[in-house]
Symmetry: C2
Amino acid sequence: MSFEIREKDLLGRIGKLKTKSGTVETPLLFPVVNPSIQLVTPQRLKDEFGFEAVITNAYILWKRYQNRPIDEGLQKFLNYDGSIMTDSGAYQILVYGNVEVTQKEIVDYQERIGSDIATILDIPTGWHVPKEKAQETVAETLKRAKAFFKLKTHMDMLWVGPVQGGRHLDLVAKSAKAMSKLPFQIHALGSPTEVMESYRYDVLVDMILTAKMNLPLERPLHLFGAGHPHMMALAVALGCDLFDSAAYALYAREGRYMTENGTWRLGEMDYFPCQCPRCAAATPKQVLDMLKQEKEKFLAEHNLHVCVAELKRIKQAIRDGRLWEHVEMRAHTHPALLTALKRVRDYETYIEKSSPTVKQSGLFFFDSVGLARPEITHYRERLGKRFRPPKSSKVLVLVPQTRQKPFHRSEEFKDTRRIINRLDEKNAGLIHVCFYAAPFGIIPLELDEVYPLSQHEVAMPLDSEVKENVADQVAQYVIVSRYETVVLLDDPETWGSSIKRECRRACAKMGVQFDSLRVHAKSTKEFLAALETILKKSLSNKP
Amino acid sequence: MSFEIREKDLLGRIGKLKTKSGTVETPLLFPVVNPSIQLVTPQRLKDEFGFEAVITNAYILWKRYQNRPIDEGLQKFLNYDGSIMTDSGAYQILVYGNVEVTQKEIVDYQERIGSDIATILDIPTGWHVPKEKAQETVAETLKRAKAFFKLKTHMDMLWVGPVQGGRHLDLVAKSAKAMSKLPFQIHALGSPTEVMESYRYDVLVDMILTAKMNLPLERPLHLFGAGHPHMMALAVALGCDLFDSAAYALYAREGRYMTENGTWRLGEMDYFPCQCPRCAAATPKQVLDMLKQEKEKFLAEHNLHVCVAELKRIKQAIRDGRLWEHVEMRAHTHPALLTALKRVRDYETYIEKSSPTVKQSGLFFFDSVGLARPEITHYRERLGKRFRPPKSSKVLVLVPQTRQKPFHRSEEFKDTRRIINRLDEKNAGLIHVCFYAAPFGIIPLELDEVYPLSQHEVAMPLDSEVKENVADQVAQYVIVSRYETVVLLDDPETWGSSIKRECRRACAKMGVQFDSLRVHAKSTKEFLAALETILKKSLSNKP
């Protein structure tokens, strides 16, 4: 196996990819290296910035340098001793409609120059392409992929099998399924560049996840042309392992300054919002006054520093089990990214199946967007399938969440518990206490300390979707359980009318006795007396 | 005037504060300098990190060094040639209950050592303090503040008048009102340290805004003890100009690594999520292996780099008119910060009054949290107060927002416009078109290109609060206007039932004829025919 997964969070992973020139760590960004224009030399990319791999275009090498890279060897030709990936000219097919090379020639060329990772000459679908045309690109890519395995002669290279189909998701699925049957080491999602340039990250979510669901998880997935740090976390969370990008250099050429939160034009800046070694030692004015090439170099180096730091943030987030938090934060740098993250909810079942759900760290819950988190989906599913209330229990007492966690140790709950304990033993045994809380829903007292039920922080006040969602969970629980009475300690200040309404409805549906009692910040004597009366009344009918 | 405001956004501002040692730019962080322990020398703070000012504790100097800082002068004593602020020992009163110095002594001492900015010996309220006790601290602080002006002899120093009251907002207001009548150059919010340590940023919002609303806007406001970069943007947005912090050093001592998104323990890290010059050149493992002092220094320097960069981000955001966006992003690094930002909505009227609402840049709208933005409040208020539909208009046609902006140039609207234009001139003049859109609500066709009505991006799908909020705006508009008929082009895929329900209700209330017609992504022949029929019918009754 050339790819070994070390840590996982959501569909993102930290992995080791073995190439003939060395082992590189994923998620990995290959900076695009153009031997004709090099602001930052490949060797500096490795030594100063830590890039363990770069990508260059074999088709351009073939056209401009012919045999030189073959004679010198690619590493020497680029003066770079890390791993080198080559693209095949497929992007040029997308842009110019055609290339002057056959697949046989470019496969052969990549083998002879000694690429570590190489790409077949696939046919990118593009974005605004009618289905029939898209279908053709998928078919032709697959045909070439199959033909490729008869051309290939070297055994020490990793080959990329691109998935096409564009925004036609059925075609993406078909393409991914077919490509995954072939012995590629790596897959790639074909040219989503236009989708990204139009900020249609929501479409990108569909494309990536459709590919991902139909590809073998143990092979790394490359996202072609994705090099802006503000969207990398999302792409990694969806299972992309490899990225390549010329953006750091292209942006620099246009005077654009990348950050993990967005892009500025140099001329608009009074301050550098960055602590990289270049920005820590200069002001925008000083850089504006530089000569063109010096300015471009400054920006390219800054852009690279930003990309490196964001990748490290993403890796640390995977290691911490907090990739969702990281993605959610980045989603609030551009509405298009939040739109995309909202789309992820359509795939929550798939993500839950493939993600770790037990972690060391607590969970930060901000709003309804977070309801798609695998920890939540997982808990709810498990509660529904595996949890049964104690056999003896006849009366469900529903207690609202408190600021303090675990809830059963809160000041607010103490009084309620005292009232229950005051009942004689037999009667107390008939009562089952569950908390209702965002984001998990129903939390039986006996699970209150289980991860992550008391290891999370929730932003308040709750938004409507969250209230309704939890209310649905409560209703669902009442429906599948077999209590004879439900006593709701209602907290309308936090929950509005949602919990009471849904709870009453569920009880009515199931013929369950329903009582509710309003709680206040401090439990009054009246409240406690009323609670005792309600409980005694509920119990008096029980055998 | 010692303080000059250059740029503003929300209640945040970029300003110039003139001290006798030079002019410094706000928002400004004073790193706390302790002459007994200096990991990073004051001069390096200035030269390498760019800190134009530092703060040190006059009470500690007085106790440990007596006359030395007087004899040498404070700048020489600290070996720092920037501006120097001194605290008075008030924090020690909060922690130890008492100090061994009188206000007269410490005022005199600060004058003699030559502080640029100095603090009276106020009595901090603290957090969990009963009202009566809090009342006493406010009264005693005020008494000392008044007494101070009789003690003061130097004219070239800036003096800080702290506002006390803790979480008792009526006391904060009272304290701020009284202090603002005295000729202090700077005000401060007294010791919110415990509030911040408990992550009760929502309480901090109340405290800061209550102080702010009762203080003169032209004096800078200092927030004592606030030095974590993840909350600075919020504090600046609420109108805090000055911060001081020992956190960079205290955290370093405890092996804690600050970032603008939160804090790590060094031992938990596999990657440094940072591009600062220190982190770009080291791994967590290497730093863990360092000697204690070297490690502490590494962390302190990293922490400082992070603070500097965050302040630059905040300043650039003010300059861009995008401070809200910046705060909203940071609010998604911890639920306590989002809880705090949600609290800001209670103050939307005050914020709208004091913030610029016309900007160069577009507006990013993520969810209902953003409804508190002054641009939105401002537009709605102006629409309600100043806008009147053309006198001739009898029929309001309500058209849903489109992806393309300005809405009236969208593909979707073209057909609708064609139908209207097909009516004869007199009849077309009876029709008034308004769009309904998040987040602004009603957008009359004639305002569709006015800032920021077509300069914004909205995350989709909309959340319930936003839908209901816009529906309320639509209803409100129908109620105050005098149309005879309302024709709603209803888009339930985007808006659910909210717009139709509220619109119908408003029409019923006002005795206005109501018609609705469902729109689809592509307007069909049937839709256009139905629209034409409805419009003709509506017009046929009109004179």
